[in-house]
Structure formats: structure tokens, C-alpha cells
Amino acid sequence: MRVFAQLFEAIDSSTKTSRKVAAMVDYFDRVSDEEKLFAVALLIGNKPKRPVATTSLREWASALAGIPSWLFEESYYAVGDLGETLTLLMPQQSRPEETPTLKAVFATMTALRKYSPMEQRETLYTFWTTLRGTALFLFNKMLTGSLRVGVSRKLVINALARHLDRDEATVAHQLMGKWDPLTTRFTDLFPQQGTALPHHIPYPFYLAYALDREPADLGDINNWLLEKKLDGIRGQLIRRNGELFIWSRGEDLLTDKFPEFGPLTTLLPDGTVIDGEIIPWKDGHPLPFARMQTRIGRKNLSAKMLQEVPLVMVCFDLLEYEGRDIRHEPLLIRRAQLAALIDNPALQRILLRSEEMAFPDWQAAADFRERARQFHCEGLMLKQWQSAYGVGRRKGDWWKWKADPFSIDAVMIYAQSGHGRRANLYTDYTFAVWDGDTLVPFAKAYSGLTDTEIKSLDRWIKQNTVEKFGPVRRVKPVHVFEIGFEGVQASNRHKSGVALRFPRMLRWRLDKTAAEANTKDDLLDLLRLYGQ
């Protein structure tokens, strides 16, 4: 764990990706295959599940630190991260330092789950009093299930490719799927060149960047496939060796969550891999994403739920056909094969082919995008007909072109100090709209401003506080912000009667006075037009 802790520090203290990659390559070159395996798991976020309830962690750590639980909570609030709080509150120990292997720590995380509370506490006390510094921090981050190392998957793949002397696409593919480092060997994961991968392993997803130029710069619209950008779960459907697997982009195996896809085991030919969006679909159009979330959250799916929120996969790509990896073929060819495969009445209730939107020119596409929400989508996807199916996020062939968010001008009325990254700065704000001559709060937001704006706003808040309650300050209703959001829903838990999806600050409207902010009626109009 000591060497991994050093790697973590090197990554954590650098903002340059070249240095991060160099640190990883150097690390992989130095340590054993066994350690590498656990390190890769941690680096790509394949971490053990939280083994102990956080309430127990808080209780035991407070006791060890000799502080009451309320003070633990206050500390946690200020720090903003449970693992870090645990680390900072551990008393300086006289017990000698120990440095277990990464494997031992992983094994402990797994074993802890089966222990009695007494045994759990004893084990934790041992680690808490013998680990130091970064190792203690890493241990606690694993314990709270929140360890994140500051490298993207892409960088890890890059470093592994250099260490293994293989190309990145191969390494990316080998890393796919869920694997448990306690039951996997490094050589299983990265077999000798030419060895076939296990049949359940998905292909790396190809991802699109947000369009960063004028669509006209993309050339002739006829060279592009335009699809609706749907709001569901990106998934990969694998039918191999007589089995069916459905992977999410987060690499969760979701096969069991979607019983309606079960018949595909017999309906699809062996050696088929389809990329698409899994969404709730009824009466010819999508249902709101929130419905799907409730369904995914359920442990047991009732027949009623299955009937109320039926799922389909809107298929947009075919990656494997008749057992052949066809990702290098042009999209045009892949789509033709996809059509031949799934345009089949028996499949129509479960697999839909994504609609190929036909627009005479980019202007017509732009008009559609602006009104995208009326058509149950978030905007458009643009994919070059000649493009291969790539690995990871790449610029050039695939773009997402999302509709602009809804926006409302609102007055800031409360500010709350942030925690963690934003401790002792006022960064979390509550916004209100006018209802007659009173201001009704309707949204909270804490992102969207630059650091400079946050700083100057923080200073203004401290000087214009009307009332203080705990970490919250009521401020003079002066500043107007343009609040952007992705959706609106009726809600009786909110004073304003609406709940917003992903509210954030788009702009600080220094050009507007509070009186010029929007009204509750404006919000209700949006609800009527687009409410879900």
C-alpha cells in the first residue's frame, strides 16, 4: 500500500496529465502483477462496496477521537468528505505504523461485511491506529466507498498500454466489464496477444463530445446521420454463446433489471452486439426518465411496474454481427446490417431502430433542436456516415447537439457556506421568483459561476447579510441570476409548486434589477408546456 500511496500522491499533486501518466507507468513497471491488479481496480473506480454502515463508522470514529457525535457531524460538514473526516479525526497514535498490501486491504473490505459489529469495530480500530497519512486516507476512502483517484479511465488505459506495450484499443477492451480483483489474475485480464476475451465482455463505448462549432462547419448534412438524443440508459446488448448480457455505460450488468429483453436470447442470432439507449416507452413515445429511475431502484419488479413502465432499447449501432467485430466498418454499413437484423415484427416490442431524421439542411435541423423537448428528446446526435465505431470519447465523427436549457431569471435570497472544496465560502444559493410582491424560493444551485465570481459574491454576501441561521444567511434580494435547468415537474413539496431538473446558474445578470426577475406564473407556464 505504501507504493500505491506514493502513486496517489504523485497523481493528486499534479495537474499535468503527462506527469500523471508517467507516474502510473513508472508504478506499473515497479510493482508485482498482483499489486498492479488491485491498483488498476482502484484507478478505474472498480472499488469494493462500502462494507460498513456509515452510521457505525461515525459512531466508532467519534468514540476513538473522544468527541460527541454532533461535533463529528459538524466536522464532516466542514470537510465535506466522510473518508477525509475520519482521517483527520484519528488521534495521533503511539502504536507502530503498519503498511498492509493492497490485496490485504481489499480482502479486509470484503471480509468486514460478514463480521459482527464487534468484530468490525475491532478491525477498524486496528487499521485506524496503525495506518498513517495517505495510507490511512486511502483506507478510509475505500471504507466509505468513495475512493477516486484523479485520473480518467483513458489515462489509465494509456499508461497500461505503455507498460504492456499494447495498443490502447486492445487494453480498453480488455478492461471492460465487471471483474473482481480478488478472484482475477492480472494475466486473466490482460492475456497474451491473440487470446479471445471471455464472451460476456462488452466493447468500450464510443462517446460523443458536445458540438463545439457551427453545424455548417460539418459540411454536407447528407454525410451525417441525425438521430434524436434520448434520455435513458446507454446500454450494450450482447448475445453470445447462447447467453444474453446487458451492460450499462457505467459497466453495470443490468440483465436482471430488464426482464422484457429475456426473449432476445432466442430471438437474436449468436454473435450479436448492439449499442443503444434503454428507455421507458409507451404508446409510441418515451416516458420521462424519472419513471425509469424508480423502476431501476426497485429490488423486485412487480407485474404492475412492468406494465406501467415498459422498456425498449432504441438501437443505434451494431458492433458485432455473426460473431465478427465490425466496429471498423463505416456506420452506413453497420446501420444496414442493424436494419436487416432487427427490422423484424417479432422484435418490435423490445428493439426499435433509432429514427433517421431527415432534414433538408442544417437550418432545419437547428429549428428541430430548438424545439426538441416537444418531440420527447434532448436534442440531436450527429454521426458521420463514414465513421468507424471508436473507443472512448473522440472528437470529429460523433457529436451531441443538445437543446439549450430552459432558463428563468431569479433573485438570490439565501446563501449557504459550501463544504469540502468550498468550505468557508458562500457558494450554495437559493433563488426565488416573484409571486405578487413576495419572493418565492424555487431552486437551489451551486454551480455555474467562475471562481472570481464566487469570490466577489462571497464578499458581497458577508457584507449584505440580513439574518444568520447556522450556516445559512438571508441576504438582501438584489442579485439576479439566469437559472438554467433541464426539466420541470409539478411538486407539492416545493413552495413554488414546481421541481426543476439539474438547476444551475447560467449567468450572473448584473444588468438586471431584482424587480426584473421572472414570476411564479412564468414558471407555471413552463410547467404547463413541458411538465412531465
Partner: protein, 334 residues
């Protein structure tokens, strides 16, 4: 019964003597604990402070202010109330102010720390009945190690950067931490130490009191680049300013108690954070209460509600929040 010291809209007020301690609104007569800008503001009729605080006040507030200088321990009588200044260990010249009237003793800590930093006059506990304490780092997650251990980390890092052929930029409070760090670098004469104007100005002012520090001012004109391997001291506000372009290839660190938290470190976007504080941590705050033997505790700026509750519930002492307008400006100074 009126208390000997209380807060009104101008500052901490002693009605009997008609004087204020660290007022935030202009008053006739102000006793100043130390020269940081949130404690020593402009516009007061007369300033009473320690000898080492005076030159910084003139630097910041102008030469035309009226200052009465005092030594540590020297009693000052005002309307029958006895005031005296005692080392607070925060920065050079920083003082706790003791206020005594008819056997009742109050102490205002100002900003303070118990750990010796090698330069500031070390903290001396002052026995009292009523203690008005700051609480900037009044949560148990703040636990600071000795400044000398941090100085060593800083020197090691500087050496590491020299070997990598890059400059070292240390961001710290221009008044206080800059001097205590420079004080540790007197032997490092082989590589240049360069100072931002804000630090150089403070050093210049302190020279009048016989304090001399290594390092030379990196003048604005002519625009020269820092030589390789140099150590540059600047206030945190320099980060991201055009001034930094002269640093060539550099790594930058922030020295502050706030660096204890990863989040604070990451938000500033620095390569490294050194946990170096001129304030008490949680343990020191508790130790100060023990050392003064105070029976009533008043908690000002920082984690006042949390620390007050801690003192009241866990230590069984009457404690209350004293709402003042001091704001720790450490990370936004200048």
C-alpha cells in the same frame, strides 16, 4: 450589570474606559491586537498598539495616524481600568489585551497560537476570569504540527524543485507567515530568494524595528524573470495574476492552516499545500482555556457556534458566541 467588555456595532467596547478593541467602525480610541487588516482598520482617532505593530499600521494606514506604542506587560491606565498587552504568538507584535477593573480580569486574545514559530514573540498565557477567544480553526479536524516540521517540508520541497530545474513559489500571508518562513532561510544564501512587493514592503517597515530578513524585492520595473531554482514569496492573491508570468517554469504552494483540507487545496489549484497556521488549532484553543483558568468563555470569529457548544457541553464552562465582524482574510488578502 454591565459587562466590562461587550460588543456593539463598532467593535469590542469597554464602556468604563470608553475605548474599543479592534473596532470595525471608526472610533476615538482603539486598542489594536495586531496589524492584520480585519483587526486594524482605518479612521480611528488614536491607535494603541505594540511597538512592532506600529510600523505596519503606518505602512497600511498612512503616516498621519496617531499611534501610542506600548511594550508587552506595560500597564496603561484609562479611567481606572488597567490595560496591558501580552504576546499572542500570532505574528510579530501581536498581542492579547488584558483588561482589569476592580479585581475582574478580561482577556481578548485577538488572533493567536500557542505553537512557537521561531519569530513571533511566543504566546504567554494570561490568567483571567473572562476569555474572549477567536475560533478560526475551532474544529477537531484541525490539528497542526509544529511550524518547524513544516519549515523542513518547505525546504525539502524547494530543494526537490531546484533539482527538477523549476522555481518555487510560496504563497502566504505577506504579514506574518512570510517573515517567519524567511527567518528560517537565513542560511540559504546560494540561491536567490525573491519577494513580491507586498512582502518586501512589510519587511521594509519592520526594518525600522531592527528586524531584517533575507530576500530581495522583485521589482515591477524592469520586468525581469526569476532565475532558475529561485524561491519566490508572494501573497495568495498573486496566483493567477500577470505577475506570475515572470516565474518561468515553477511549482506553486500555498502555506495556510486551511491547507489541512484537501478541498481547500484543490480549489486553489496549487501544486502543494503546506499546513502552516498562525492560529490555534482545536487542541491549542482548549489548552489556552486551561492555561488561563477562565470561567467564562466568549467565542468570536471562526467556528464560533461549534466551539461554543463544545466548551459549554463538553467542558462544562459557561460559553457564548460573541458576534464580531472579523473575517479571516488569509486567502484573499490584497
Amino acid at each position: 450589570m454591565k459587562r466590562l467588555l461587550q460588543v456593539n456595532d463598532r467593535g469590542i467596547y469597554c464602556e468604563r474606559a470608553d475605548v474599543y478593541i479592534d473596532p470595525w467602525q471608526p472610533v476615538q480610541r482603539a486598542l489594536i491586537t495586531h496589524a492584520h487588516s480585519d483587526h486594524a482598520r482605518r479612521g480611528n482617532g488614536q491607535y494603541l498598539c505594540h511597538h512592532d505593530t506600529a510600523p505596519i499600521l503606518t505602512l497600511r494606514l498612512g503616516t498621519d495616524i496617531r499611534i501610542q506604542r506600548v511594550s508587552y506587560g506595560e500597564p496603561i491606565q484609562i479611567n481606572g481600568v488597567t490595560f496591558s498587552f501580552h504576546p499572542a504568538g500570532h505574528i510579530l507584535g501581536s498581542a492579547q489585551i488584558r483588561v482589569a477593573y476592580k479585581g475582574e480580569i478580561w482577556v481578548v486574545t485577538g488572533d493567536y497560537k500557542l505553537l512557537n514559530d521561531g519569530l513571533s514573540q511566543p504566546y504567554e498565557p494570561v490568567v483571567c476570569h473572562h476569555l474572549i477567544t477567536e475560533s478560526t480553526f475551532g474544529l477537531p479536524v484541525y490539528a497542526f504540527k509544529s511550524p518547524f516540521a513544516v519549515y523542513k517540508e518547505i525546504k525539502d520541497w524547494w530543494r526537490e524543485n531546484q533539482q527538477a530545474g523549476v522555481n518555487t513559489v510560496l504563497l502566504c500571508y505577506a504579514l506574518g507567515k512570510a517573515q517567519s518562513i524567511l527567518n528560517q532561510l537565513r542560511e540559504e544564501t546560494d540561491v536567490p530568494i525573491l519577494l513580491h512587493g507586498a512582502v518586501a514592503n512589510v519587511n521594509g517597515a519592520l526594518a525600522a524595528r531592527g528586524y531584517h530578513f533575507p530576500g530581495q524585492w522583485m521589482e515591477t520595473e524592469p520586468v525581469t524573470k526569476a532565475p532558475k531554482g529561485a524561491l519566490i514569496l508572494a501573497p495568495p492573491s498573486a496566483l493567477g495574476s500577470p505577475w506570475m508570468r515572470r516565474m518561468g517554469n515553477y511549482r506553486v504552494a500555498l502555506c495556510s492552516g486551511w491547507m489541512q483540507l484537501r478541498g481547500a487545496r484543490r480549489r486553489r489549484g496549487v501544486d502543494k499545500g503546506f499546513v502552516l497556521s498562525d492560529h490555534c488549532d482545536f487542541r491549542q484553543l482548549n489548552e489556552a482555556i486551561d492555561l488561563t483558568g477562565a470561567e467564562h468563555i466568549y467565542v468570536t470569529h471562526g467556528y464560533e457556534s461549534q466551539f461554543t457548544r463544545w466548551v459549554r457541553e463538553e467542558r462544562g464552562l459557561p460559553a457564548e458566541i460573541m458576534n464580531t465582524l472579523y473575517e479571516d482574510m488569509e486567502l484573499e488578502e490584497l
